[in-house]
């Protein structure tokens, strides 16, 4: 894989490359064998959008929240927190495990304010570089301490999940999740896959607001999944990137996790503040692993730190300080909860409007899924070809899997969007 040879492995090509490597011609580049990497499917969309000069262009690609004017939002609670911490005298390295205060507050969000697991210090937790960093740390941890294991990943999932476990060298398997016919959950196939997986397998679950589909199990379904996991002694790793953002209520969005905890599972959780606190670029998150007891939690935490040290030594401070300032202050925390609900509500209302607009246009298709799905994304059911048409003809940007970031939909563009979707699907 590493040395990709353009021609088939002919002797001449091999000699050429090995000559370069040995460097008989001193000025030849070391990098001849480096191919240009494919563009990231998600982040590449924004790049293309930025390069487009059409006044009508719409970006429903990357999942970053926009207000109804299509502008990025910095939450009021965040601004206030920043004002409080600006120019503070502390810029020294955080401990390897990150900001203790931030981690404490973050665990309460996931496990519950009065969680016995937190009280009993059974949660090994470290600050991580947003959700990506938390997942990567866990994948590396899984590789190091359960080297024979694989990870079961839902189909579809956030594309970077595949990159993460691949670079951590943990083999991947998939489980059924999205049901294209209903544009909902393929629950029975999911349960079959869970049942058929070898005992003690590792599963990646989206705690709420599944990315990219927006399709979540119901509470009842989560309970069934949990029971089956118990029978099969599987390990549940939750990626929770949208707590508060899905329903507007953080406690409600953590329901799946709470069910698993009640049922006695020892889980792992990746949490991110990118969306729900709008701290995208700050890279703030947390990885936690529930252990048997305090002693084990201490050991596990030390090993997580050990994995972080050769990647970045210790995590960045600024975002963590914003989080702990907000969550540690009653008023700011209330303000945050209000602002999260506003964001979630706007998205929900855009879902309703988009669906109604399509129905009013007389679309032959069902758009029920637009309002049934939850969170930032809508899995529209559009084909790659239809997506390409939307981009070419209407300057609408989304990922080719038909995922629409509802956060990019506004009262200003929803009509245009509905019309365009209608145009490319009406003869479908």
């Amino acid at each position: 894989m590493a040395m990709s040879i353009r021609n088939s492995a002919s002797r001449r090509a091999m000699n050429q490359i090995s000559n370069d490597f040995i460097g008989l011609r001193s000025m030849s580049s070391w990098w001849k064998s480096v191919e240009p990497a494919a563009k990231d499917p998600i982040l590449g969309v924004t790049e293309a959008f930025l390069a487009d000069h059409s006044p009508d262009k719409v970006n429903v690609g990357v999942g970053a929240y926009r207000d109804d004017n299509g502008k990025p939002v910095v939450l009021e609670c965040v601004r206030e927190a920043e004002r409080r911490i600006a120019g503070n005298a502390f810029m020294e390295y955080l401990p390897m495990g990150g900001s203790v205060k931030m981690v404490e507050e973050t665990l309460k969000l996931a496990y519950g304010d009065d969680s016995e697991f937190i009280k009993d210090k059974r949660v090994a937790a470290v600050q991580a570089l947003s959700g990506t960093g938390a997942c990567r740390l866990f994948a590396d941890f899984q590789k190091r301490f359960c080297p024979g294991s694989q990870i079961y990943i839902p189909v579809p999932t956030w594309s970077n999940h595949h990159n993460i476990w691949r670079d951590a060298q943990v083999p991947q398997k998939t489980y059924h999740y999205y049901h294209p016919e209903t544009k909902g959950l393929d629950f029975s196939a999911l349960m079959d896959d869970v049942k058929n997986a070898p005992e003690g397998s590792f599963f990646l679950l989206h705690a709420c607001a599944h990315n990219p589909t927006g399709v979540d199990p119901t509470e009842e379904q989560w309970r069934e999944i949990s029971q089956l996991f118990k029978k099969k002694r599987h390990f549940a790793f939750f990626d929770m990137a949208y707590q508060g953002f899905a329903s507007g209520d953080p406690a409600r969005d953590a329901k799946s996790i709470r069910i698993f905890l009640e049922d006695g599972h020892h889980i792992g959780i990746s949490q991110s503040y990118a969306k729900n606190m709008g701290l995208y670029g700050q890279r703030v998150g947390c990885l936690s692993v529930l252990c048997d007891n305090e002693k084990q939690a201490v050991a596990v935490k030390s090993q997580l730190q050990q994995l972080g040290r050769p990647m970045y030594s210790n995590p960045p401070l600024h975002g963590a300080q914003i989080v702990s300032t907000i969550l540690g202050d009653q008023e700011l925390k209330s303000l945050w909860l209000k602002e999260v609900k506003i964001m979630a509500d706007r998205i929900i209302s855009m879902r309703t409007t988009l669906r109604e607009s399509l129905e009013n246009l007389g679309s032959p298709l069902s758009w029920e899924h637009v309002t049934k799905q939850i969170g930032m994304f809508c899995y529209s059911g559009l084909t790659p070809e239809q997506v390409d048409r939307l981009t070419r003809e209407y300057h609408i940007y989304m990922t080719r899997n038909g995922r629409i970031s509802m956060a990019g939909v506004t009262t200003g563009n929803v009509g245009y969007l509905a019309n365009a979707i209608h145009e490319v699907t009406k003869s479908a």
């Binding site: 580049s29 480096v34 600006a86 810029m91 947003s130 048997d292 960045p316």
Partner: protein, 462 residues
């Protein structure tokens, strides 16, 4: 490797070592969590099964970051933290540069948003950092031959490069100085890049073993990566002279090695950004392809914000474009995109003429304080030590650190008897030393050097 024993203490356990150990995990073939083992303890009523992480042992404390933690726990009045290399004022307080406070306030006033940076980081930062390193208008920049991406300080930037090496130069070795910063080995280990060492520190002279260094670089297999400290070598504080740098460049070119610079102290060593970049610029003049990892932790005091960059100088713009795209591919599954705050601070400071001058002045001040402290320490040692030992190496060394020449037993004495916290390889951070404490430190060093064996009955390591 005997030489690695002298250098920093335990590094991260290699996965193989962990498997061999008492962990009941990862036996090939079977899933250990399925074994019905008799654990001989009460299963908690709420737990489904014993944790699959049951056998995980406690990781050893990090030899550098662990020192600060031990220092914090010490209650003695006289305690002195000369462990981690973070700059302190004369009052031994952390120092946030004025220019950084200014930049932050500016950013706050402007109300910058918090959107994701691109994977390669903030463009303004990447431009600024390459220009700081090579000089604005340098041919490699003008001709777009440098692939620069923002990284998570020095560590993160080194790790990106290490991953690139692993992917595109399978089997190639990195040769690192003996000793070197402890985390270098962790980084290459975790990136699965094999490494070996070149002689560097000469305990007899407490200086550079130049002959040994050249010989070992010569002996490395052609096309090896040679890890070099751009300035202010960590942990020794011993830098090659300009003439020696020329010879190093010669032998590297001769053997077609790839230089790999770690520049964590630009501006902090001599006080001058340009002077401290001289070694890197020498190599750029030669038209060589090489890596440079940068960090703004020390020179802008941005430790906690994790801001740095990896630069790959290529022989063509096309190669640089391709290399940059592959670096991005490595970064995406690590953290997606880098943190914005530190990058903005650097870009603001460097991008504004006034702030840039102010920064240079503050850097001179910091470097100046360290030079002053070195002098005072030397003077104290010379006046207190009657043995005639030559302490001039303290003055010859440069940067934040000084290699005292104390061995592990002697370093232990420093801590256990004198409550002076340092790393076990004999490295002290002068940034954590005040003029007021120089005499105390001199006493501790003299005592440890001469008497440690008597106290602790440990054989001398040469």
């Amino acid at each position: 490797m005997a030489s690695s024993m002298l250098s920093l203490g335990s590094t991260a356990l290699l996965p193989r070592e962990i498997n061999k150990d008492k962990l009941k995990l990862g036996n090939s073939g079977s899933n250990p969590f399925l074994k019905a083992k008799s654990i001989g303890r009460v299963t908690m009523t709420v737990s489904v099964k014993p944790s699959r992480f049951e056998g995980i042992t406690m990781a050893p404390p990090d030899p550098i970051l662990g020192v600060s933690e031990a220092f914090k726990a010490d209650t003695d009045d006289m305690k002195l933290n000369l462990g981690v290399g973070a700059y302190r004022t004369e009052e031994l307080q952390p120092y946030v540069l004025n220019v950084v406070k200014k930049a932050e306030n500016l950013m706050l006033e402007r109300g910058d948003n918090k959107e994701y940076l691109p994977i390669e980081g903030l463009a303004a930062f990447n431009k600024a950092t390459a220009e700081l390193l090579f000089g604005a208008g340098h041919p490699v920049i003008k001709e777009q031959k440098v692939a620069t991406i923002q990284g998570l300080s020095g560590t993160g930037s080194l790790r990106l490069a290490a991953a690139l090496i692993e992917r595109y130069f399978p089997g190639a070795k990195v040769v690192i100085s003996s000793p070197t910063w402890g985390n270098h080995k962790n980084i290459f280990n975790d990136a699965k890049v094999p490494w070996s060492e070149y002689r560097y520190y000469d305990p007899k002279t407490i200086g550079l073993d130049f002959e040994g260094m050249i010989a070992d670089i010569k002996e490395a297999p052609e096309g090896s990566f040679i890890l070099l400290h751009g300035c202010a070598h960590n942990p020794t504080g011993i830098d090659p002279t300009p003439e020696q740098w020329v010879k190093i460049a010669d032998v590297i070119q001769e053997k077609n090695h790839i230089p790999f610079f770690d520049v964590a102290y630009q501006g902090f060593a001599s006080g001058s950004l340009d002077e401290d970049a001289a070694s890197v610029r020498l190599f750029a003049e030669r038209g060589m392809e090489f890596f440079v990892a940068q960090s703004y932790s020390k020179n802008l005091g941005l430790y906690a914000e994790r801001i740095g960059a990896i630069n790959v100088v290529c022989s063509s713009a096309d190669a640089a474009t391709r290399v940059k795209s592959q670096l991005k591919r490595i970064a995406r599954p690590m953290y997606s995109n880098p943190p914005v705050h530190g990058a903005r601070i650097v870009a603001n400071v460097v991008g504004d003429a006034t702030m840039f001058s102010e920064w240079k002045a503050e850097m001179e001040m910091m470097a100046g304080r360290i030079k002053t402290v070195r002098q005072k320490l030397y003077d104290s040692l010379v006046s207190k030590d009657k043995s005639g030992k030559d302490w001039s190496f303290i003055l010859k060394q440069i940067g934040m650190f000084s290699f005292t020449g104390l061995n592990k037993a002697q370093s232990d004495n420093m801590t256990n008897k004198w409550h002076v916290y340092m790393t076990k390889d004999g490295r002290i951070s002068l940034a954590g030393l005040s003029l007021a404490k120089c005499e105390y430190l001199a006493d501790a060093i003299i005592d440890s050097y001469h008497n440690a064996l008597l106290y602790w009955e440990t054989p001398i390591e040469l």
